[in-house]
Chain length 246, copies 2
């Protein structure tokens, strides 16, 4: 993890960026990548615990996560935190601000991260000049929508947690050929996101470990038995998002 800012130093990033296949650049003709990159600024680093934006801020546009992890959350009237979601590389941050130009949530980095800024004007000009750009961008938007919909329906606590682990694994699948996941967030964060109590998350993880399905150690989780895990989460929607090792 000592070179996480290496990419941030390269100017024409899309041509060399490791996540270009996961972001909108992946749908753009290689011949047009340079033109696309010309519309973009260099990726910007965001340190762990640093906020990228806060609810109420005027939005300058969207962000595409290049590396790291973000937590998107709001605060209710009583000051309690509720979590809208997490963003990993290839995900868009700030989409909710499209509604009225103001951020509706807070976004904080859970690890040292880098983001590419996507101003609305850039989207507009790129749409007009780069073939298939709009379509590819909207594909990403659709991905975010699906991501937001995956807790629809009523699942048991175990089904929710299992779904979460499988989705997290699939989004990071390049890094988890051995089933090893690094969870950037706390148990409380996971619980809040899944609308469970931290104690419940903890208990379920303990149970899954006892069953030999996972190996859990604070922020490190290893998936030992994908088949059984997928069976436990049989009611998940959108298992198709990303690839889950068989």
């Amino acid at each position: 993890m000592d070179n996480i800012y290496a990419l941030a130093q390269k100017p024409d990033s899309c041509l060399v960026c490791e996540v270009a296949q996961a972001c909108f650049a992946g749908g753009v003709d290689r011949a047009h990548l340079a033109e696309l990159a010309a519309h973009l600024q260099a990726p910007r680093p965001v340190r762990r615990r640093q906020h990228l934006f806060r609810a109420g801020d005027a939005s300058k546009g969207l962000f595409l996560v290049q590396s790291g992890c973000f937590k998107v959350y709001g605060l209710d009237q009583l000051g309690r935190e509720y979590i809208e979601g997490f963003r990993l590389p290839g995900s868009i941050l700030g989409l909710h601000s499209l509604y009225d130009g103001h951020h509706q949530f807070n976004a904080v980095a859970l690890a040292d991260s880098t983001v590419c800024a996507l101003a609305l004007g850039m989207l507009q000009s790129a749409s007009a000049r780069v073939p298939d750009f709009l379509k590819t961008f909207l594909r990403l938007v659709g991905q975010e929508l699906l991501d937001g919909a995956f807790l629809t329906g009523d699942l048991s606590a175990e089904e929710r947690l299992v779904s979460f682990l499988l989705r997290f694994a699939s989004k990071l699948h390049a890094d988890v050929s051995d089933g090893m996941l690094y969870l950037y967030m706390t148990r409380g964060d996971i619980a809040s996101y899944l609308r469970l109590a931290p104690a419940t998350v903890s208990r379920i993880l303990t149970k899954l470990q006892g069953d030999g399905v996972i190996d859990s150690d604070y922020h490190h989780i290893r998936i030992l038995d994908y088949a059984r895990l997928k069976d436990l989460g049989r009611n998940i929607r959108f298992a198709s998002l990303g690839q889950i090792p068989a």
Copy 2:
């Protein structure tokens, strides 16, 4: 309700459409409305109980609801229905299909309705030629995202139902100056959407009626006391969406 298809017969719809202020046409310069309308086909009627699309269908693009109401739902492995959301005039249908070109949900009309088709190619060409079109379209997308996020956080059954009623009222507020709502969906639909049991929805409505906050009669609900209702839903997010009568 005897002339719900009247609009569908007019060719250059945006110029005369009653919901043009709520849809993307509302952000487009009046001088460009005709050009915009030229990209569009005449609104298409969809009868009650008729499906606009089904999960798995190849998507031909998006739809903008002009009149009526739609239910967007999926089926889990056991064939049980879970509801992603409802769509009222001014909302977009089919956004989830942007991900891979296939619909992820089923959409069925709960009332006789009309929709405007928005093919991807139309979005692309309109973006290139009508100023601010993209921005205005994305504003609508942001609205849908916010709509999907409003159940984030853990609310009690009562808070969820109250939030739902307030949101529904605000989205229809042109029609509900007297606090009268027509609910197109069944108690079961509402329950599924809010992740509650039908019995719970029924009980809470009865209680609210007993408290004199609403008057409930099957599909007709009249809000008698906005102030108290809003107080009951004090943990709602995004009350800002639309206007709730004071």
